[in-house]
Symmetry: C2
Subunit: 318 residues, 2 copies
Amino acid sequence: MAKLIVAVDLGASKILAGIASADGRIINRKKISTNKAEGAEYILDRIALCIKEIIKENSSAGDKISGIAIATPGPLSYSDSIVWDSPNLKWGRVAVKEELEKRLGKTIIVDKDTNMAALGEYYFGRYRKFKHLLYVTVSTGIGGAVIVDHGLYRGKNGGAAEFGHMVIDPSGPYCSCGRKGCLEAMASGTALARQARVLIVQGKGQAILDCADGGEITAREVGAAARSGDYEAQTLILDLREALATGLANLVNIFDPEVLVLGGGVAMGLQDLLLEPLFSSVREKVFALNNNGLELGLTSLGEDVGLYGCMASVMFGN
Amino acid sequence: MAKLIVAVDLGASKILAGIASADGRIINRKKISTNKAEGAEYILDRIALCIKEIIKENSSAGDKISGIAIATPGPLSYSDSIVWDSPNLKWGRVAVKEELEKRLGKTIIVDKDTNMAALGEYYFGRYRKFKHLLYVTVSTGIGGAVIVDHGLYRGKNGGAAEFGHMVIDPSGPYCSCGRKGCLEAMASGTALARQARVLIVQGKGQAILDCADGGEITAREVGAAARSGDYEAQTLILDLREALATGLANLVNIFDPEVLVLGGGVAMGLQDLLLEPLFSSVREKVFALNNNGLELGLTSLGEDVGLYGCMASVMFGN
């Protein structure tokens, strides 16, 4: 008879579910594709089914589910757990908590994916219990969360920390949110892949095409080409790095955090090409006072950071 | 026998001192020029003298000074009240609290000018007691402060809320901080005056020159020309407004505040030309969730907002 926690990280491309012991050790994982194009009802059904399955597959008679938590893309209205016009999911208003509780007949904790990731880092990561912690995820999109005085800061509606939609270049490319020159439009995986495709349309980018080998071009293929010494791919990553440094430096000047933690598939996948010069550039761009004692690092929880956050929200509250 | 509070707002161009009753009514003011070029020692002497004079001129035998507080330009290291490399004052490291206490033999409360202004607004202004309050001053420079859960948020060293040095256009003009395209370099009074002088060097800007009538060109003269219907001046103000809207929208997406309060000489001086379209533009640029219930307004305390903050820091702590 064990107590178990179920954690779900809903992403635009995949749904990652985990089941953990009551003290926060992940016992098993399950990953399915989101099939975003099918719409909210379908995805909610899929999540509910995934939760039922992971419980069934990993528990015995008498085991107790001590909590279920889910991380969803934002913006998320915190008081009622309604997603408001999510650019990544292409959702309008979706009452995630209410809909899942209806499907499962159980109480569900819901929070924005980046808030959950920051909680994961705060309770389980390398930078645990830092007083003022900024979390920034660089993935297909860019998002973030902020811990202030040891607690999540959400703002009045839960809309705080939309770092990906900080405009850093009004003449920059269009963003999924409809504006121009957002950090996400300049320094996300999607932005990098788009820039690579622009090169290819111009008849350039041969090394990137070679790395893709007929498949899709994503940040991964641009990274591979850059590692092979390709000038064009390296330039694209340099541009991403510069835009990201500008965005992160803005955040350090705004929050003066103790630590800024980077997560997300692109930050992790390109860390060998990106991280050291990125962090040097951030330190050069911020005020001396804000650089004083500042830690900059990569999440130690990898792809599971959101699951750890969900577990933390069950164990310690969110 | 009265209890009195002394408040001093140190600016790059002027020092404003006030003396108030213990319940926060300003009894008298004193304004002197900063003479920034004379350096820190001179300015500290001048502040100390100004404090001694305003006490002498406005108190009787038996009156008690219940506190003295001063607002200084940032960056300010909060724990030891040392100014760190202030772009506006052109100071290196100056121990404001220690130096003033040595000169006056009394305990002095020191905080960043924008923090004091936010405190003033929080305790005495139109938006008093708002839980999450952003304060942005648009003056010769641009600065800010943030109140989170009814208290000032300072970050780890006191360096938080350097909103003026958020880069919003990497190809923009150089800033006093050495970087390019900071909000301050694009939307402050200094930026507006510089743009006007660029026009004039090009043989344009006649209406602005006429308004200056041989004197200095500042935001005020550009505003006067714009009010007279001058196209060039109106275009300059439109550019400032657009840059400011971008910066403020970024902040609303980052903080999701209950209220964003604007202060500062340029915001107040150009309010008839600026405010309504600026606020509309901000609302258009932010997420629907963040716009929900958002208040945008001008400080109701005018030039005294910093003095009110100093008084609040004596009365309620900072």
